[in-house]
């Protein structure tokens, strides 16, 4: 059976962390927002801190190992619970009266999807900062953060990694898991600080906007500070900074570790990185040319600027908007749509299927061609020089199949809302990949209030599934999981 005590202890830690993170938002609310908002944030923070702290104290003596099943469960539950507690500020402040709306907003925050049911310009500053904070926490993973402190709490968190790892494998950088996660977070925090400085000191967007944009890009969440997205600023510098950090955050963090060790060659030779960058440049080029030739933009440079940014936004699954791409020529739209199915690199904050899986899929397909011509031939699937074990190949294939299946099923369920087909296609892709953008009616700046509460709940499930690489959430719903054998 499940190791309840350890699980609850971990969840308490998570809740506690959520509580602490609410405090800065409360402070901001004190300065900018109405009393209700302040109260809501304060209450939420207190509730979280209390319950979390209480749980931690109650289970203080508990220590032990997590089995694989516990691992999956704890990850799924942590995210759901965090989202619930994270929804409190929205709900209590009556900013979003309906609990499902509040939950949706919270889930969108933590899963770094960035979608919203409301008009961002009307959102109280405190709440907006809270959403940005939830982006930031969810980017690297709340649990990754927790793992770095779990040993201090006497828990072996190895099983969690399997469940939360963003990618087909989680390669440790150091022998101890906690050390590895500390490095990950270290890099993450450095990026955050760096981007903040670049934005705050060199533009006039102010501290608040800087923070929101920083949190949003480093986590590849794509939270808008203004309703028009980044079109609001109309600054190439800002776009460049944000695009850069979206790019940096969607590259494997393991590479940064290698960089620190001065292993330049290994980093530059990394196939995934090469492919990722290649896709970005290639697609940007195509879109830029498409935009230019169809007259959407006057100059090729301008077309490239807009195309490139939007490409980075889509492939990093952040979801920033620089222009209303639904008015762009169809080829560009189709390219952007396809990018939703590729995503960033493994072991990064980006979502979707991840470039490495795409690479391996092509190798798998190539292998089939080979096999048909040479039925006796044996070919190893290799990325660069590294061979991929058959087991991993199988896992990757089943993941991709599942991804498409979930997409189709979601498409069918979401269509109950009776929005047009294109919109539904886009929404499903956008939520599953944690991007947050859509096509058609959802448009570049549309919001999800078009969906009924029931379907919005399903969208939450989709966002969570996408963030936790499908299986974690899926497993909870299979009888196999609950059976004792």
């Amino acid at each position: 059976m499940l190791n309840w005590k350890v699980i609850l202890k971990i969840i308490s830690v998570i809740v506690f962390i959520v509580g602490i993170s609410m405090v800065p938002s409360w402070l901001v609310a004190l300065k900018n927002d109405s009393f209700w908002v302040q109260k809501a944030l304060l209450q939420s923070a207190l509730i979280s801190l209390t319950l979390g702290g209480a749980g931690m104290l109650y289970f203080k003596k508990t220590s032990g190992n997590l089995l694989l099943r516990d691992g999956y469960f704890v990850v799924a539950m942590s995210w759901i619970v965090a989202s619930i507690f994270g929804a409190l500020p929205y709900w209590l402040s009556a900013d979003l009266a309906h609990p499902i709306d509040a939950f949706f907003e919270s889930v969108a925050g933590f899963t770094t999807t960035g979608s919203t049911v409301r008009n961002v310009d009307l959102m109280p500053r405190g709440l907006l900062l809270w959403k940005a904070t939830s982006n930031w926490l969810g980017g690297m993973g709340i649990l990754v953060f927790a793992i770095s402190i779990l040993p201090a709490l006497g828990i072996n968190g190895q099983a969690i990694v399997r469940a939360e790892a963003p990618g087909p494998t989680f390669e440790k950088m150091t022998a101890r898991l906690s050390a590895s996660t500390k490095i990950l977070y270290g890099t993450y925090i450095s990026f955050t600080l760096a981007e903040f400085c670049l934005l705050y000191f060199f533009t006039d967007m102010g501290a608040f906007d800087s923070i929101v944009n920083t949190f949003g890009s480093v986590s590849t969440g794509g939270l808008f500070a203004h309703r028009q997205g980044l079109a609001f600023y109309d600054s190439v510098y800002i776009e460049a900074v944000i695009a850069s950090f979206c790019y940096l955050s969607s590259v494997s963090f393991l590479l940064y570790f290698l960089l620190l060790q001065r292993k330049w060659k290994e980093v530059l030779g990394n196939r995934e990185l090469q492919t990722f960058t290649g896709i970005i440049l290639g697609t940007s080029f195509l879109i830029a040319t498409n935009l230019f030739l169809t007259g959407t933009y006057e100059t090729w440079i301008s077309a490239f600027r807009h195309g490139f940014f939007q490409v980075v936004s889509f492939i990093s699954t952040s979801g920033y908007v620089i222009a209303d791409f639904t008015k762009w020529p169809y080829l560009s739209q189709a390219l952007l749509f396809l990018l939703l199915f590729i995503g960033g690199c493994a072991s990064s904050t980006a979502g979707s299927m991840k470039v490495i899986r795409i690479i391996i899929s092509f190798k798998i397909m190539a292998r089939m061609f080979f096999k048909r011509l040479h039925p006796s031939g044996i070919i190893a699937v290799k990325v660069g020089q590294k061979p991929i074990p058959a087991d991993t190949v199988s896992k990757i294939t089943s993941f991709m199949m599942l991804y498409f299946m979930v997409y189709i099923v979601s498409l069918i369920l979401l269509s109950l809302q009776n929005l047009d087909f294109e919109t539904t296609m886009g929404v499903a892709a956008g939520c599953l990949s944690n991007t947050g953008l859509g096509f058609g009616e959802m448009g570049a700046t549309g919001n999800y209030s078009m969906f009924s509460p029931g379907l919005r709940l399903y969208l939450c499930a989709m966002m969570l599934m996408g963030r936790l690489e499908l299986f974690t959430i899926f497993l909870l719903f299979t009888p196999t999981f609950w059976r004792n054998t």
């Binding site: 169809y330 739209q333 080979f370 269509s415």
Partner: protein, 485 residues
């Protein structure tokens, strides 16, 4: 390049002969309907083809070398492209179509897709319309099978070609007397053809109409000689007959053979059949419910329309009785999902094939279980038979290739200036040999909206889909031409 040139040329010769002969049949129709001016369109195609065919058969010395895999692939691909070209000539000569259009229409015919670039079908002469639908019937069985039935000396060779031609995964039991198998298929095909024609005639259709629509049904093609397809007849009887035969044509023909010995048990034991029926029935009910709920039809009519359209789409026939593009999004989404499944293996249907869809689902299920129990040995089973790892890999790779092809093709089509839904469903409808899609290629629309290069591209896509992708794509890989790597 190491191909068995003689045997390949011999085969092509035989194919030319048969196709040429086939092209002369419409002359009979032209005679019946008094369309003398069209005689030339046909005999100018038939005679050169027959002569060239005879020359090749007689002139090319029989080869002593065995026919190998690569030869098989090349032959099949060339044959299909060749007959498409030959078939286009009467169109080209007999109407005002340009060659791209003719090629598209013929590819659509032989591949049993049923997509059309014609804006006004009814304006065409009878003989042309006959030829158009006749290509469905011919394509349905695969010219290659005819060629093999006439080539008794190719034992090993026959096997090699069959591997290239036969639709369906490798698990199909291959009748050891391969020649015998093709005769049985032919017989079943004839029986279906005759019975449907009779039944339709009884329903009040003219012989011509009955034959045309039988061709379209039995081959799961979808060409009609009326602009509003089957909606022209406004008859429940006709709708039901066609529905029944569409489904029957999309079932595994070897099951009919088995049922001759074991009765219905042959069908009921087959997992694919059961799966197929479940999908059809449940989708019919769901869509009927949706249509009724949204006020489109009364419950009786809703059921009828739903059953027909579900059958039409899943069997990849592509007939329509109403404009389903106007249906509620939920119904459309379900139809979209059905487009991805396709017919059963060993039938004239297209798509990924039901058996593969089933294997994929079970494969995913196994993936879930093994994630939870990494040491478990779990096999994928269909009924009592367990599927080997090789077959699973083959199925998974095929599915990946299929999806990738649809996505990339959709991209290419969108460059032609068509919205996302049109582009992607057009790609899907062509690769899956369905015919109609949504939006710009909906049931009341046609493919004339595409530019000529795209039409040719889609034509090849249709052939590729019919040949299960690998066969045609193989020709474009460097590996195919280089025997040493």
């Amino acid at each position: 390049m190491g191909f068995n040139h003689y045997t390949i040329l011999q085969m092509l010769g035989k194919v030319l002969l048969i196709t040429g002969a086939a092209t002369s049949i419409p002359i009979l129709v032209a005679w019946i309907y008094g369309e003398e001016e069209l005689y030339s369109a046909f005999y100018l195609t038939a005679i050169p083809a027959v002569i060239l065919g005879l020359l090749l058969i007689i002139g090319v010395p029989p080869s002593t070398k065995a026919i190998r895999i690569r030869d098989g692939f090349l032959v099949v691909a060339l044959v299909w492209i060749l007959i498409t070209f030959i078939g286009s000539i009467p169109f080209f000569l007999g109407t005002h179509m340009n060659f791209a259009d003719a090629f598209f229409e013929m590819a659509s015919g032989f591949s049993t897709t049923g997509a059309s670039i014609l804006t006004d079908i009814e304006a065409l002469p009878y003989s042309i319309l006959f030829w158009r639908s006749f290509t469905h019937w011919l394509g349905g069985l695969g010219i290659v099978i005819f060629a093999i039935a006439l080539m008794p000396h190719l034992n090993i060779g026959g096997y090699n070609i069959m591997r290239a031609e036969t639709p369906g995964p490798i698990y199909d039991k291959i009748n050891p007397k391969f020649k015998g198998q093709s005769r049985i298929l032919f017989l079943i095909y004839m029986i279906l053809t005759l019975s449907e024609t009779l039944l339709l005639k009884l329903g009040g259709l003219s012989w011509f109409d009955a034959l045309i629509h039988t061709f379209g049904t039995v081959a799961t093609g979808g060409f009609s000689n009326y602009n509003d397809s089957l909606g022209h007849f406004q008859s429940t009887y006709v709708t039901l007959v066609v529905t029944l035969f569409m489904v029957m044509s999309a079932l595994n023909f070897t099951l009919y053979y088995a049922s001759m010995k074991k009765g219905l048990e042959g069908f009921l034991k087959d997992t694919e059949f059961k799966f197929y029926m479940i999908v059809i029935v449940s989708c019919t009910l769901l869509i009927a419910l949706d249509l009724f709920r949204m006020g489109y039809f009364s419950h009786g009519i809703a059921l009828r329309e739903s059953a027909f359209q579900v059958a039409s789409i899943i069997t990849t026939t592509g007939y329509a009785t109403t404009n389903y593009d106007l249906w509620p999004t939920f119904s459309k989404a379900l139809l979209f999902g059905l487009m991805l499944i396709g017919g059963c293996s060993g039938s004239t249907g297209g798509g990924i094939k039901a058996i593969r869809a089933l294997i994929v689902i079970r494969f995913i299920r196994r993936g879930i279980i093994t994630r939870l129990h990494p040491n478990a040995v779990c096999t994928v089973r269909l009924g009592e038979k367990s599927i080997s790892g090789d077959v699973i890999t083959s199925v998974a790779s095929f599915s990946l290739l299929y999806i990738t092809t649809v996505l990339v093709s959709g991209l290419i089509v969108s460059a032609d200036g068509h919205d996302l839904v049109t582009s992607f469903t057009a790609a899907l409808a062509c690769v899956g040999n369905i015919g109609p899609g949504f939006s710009g290629v909906g049931p009341v629309m046609n493919y004339s909206i595409f530019s000529n290069p795209i039409k040719v591209f889609l034509g090849f896509l249709m052939l590729a889909g019919r040949l299960e992708l690998f066969t045609l794509f193989m020709l474009f890989t460097p590996r195919f031409w280089n025997r040493d790597r």
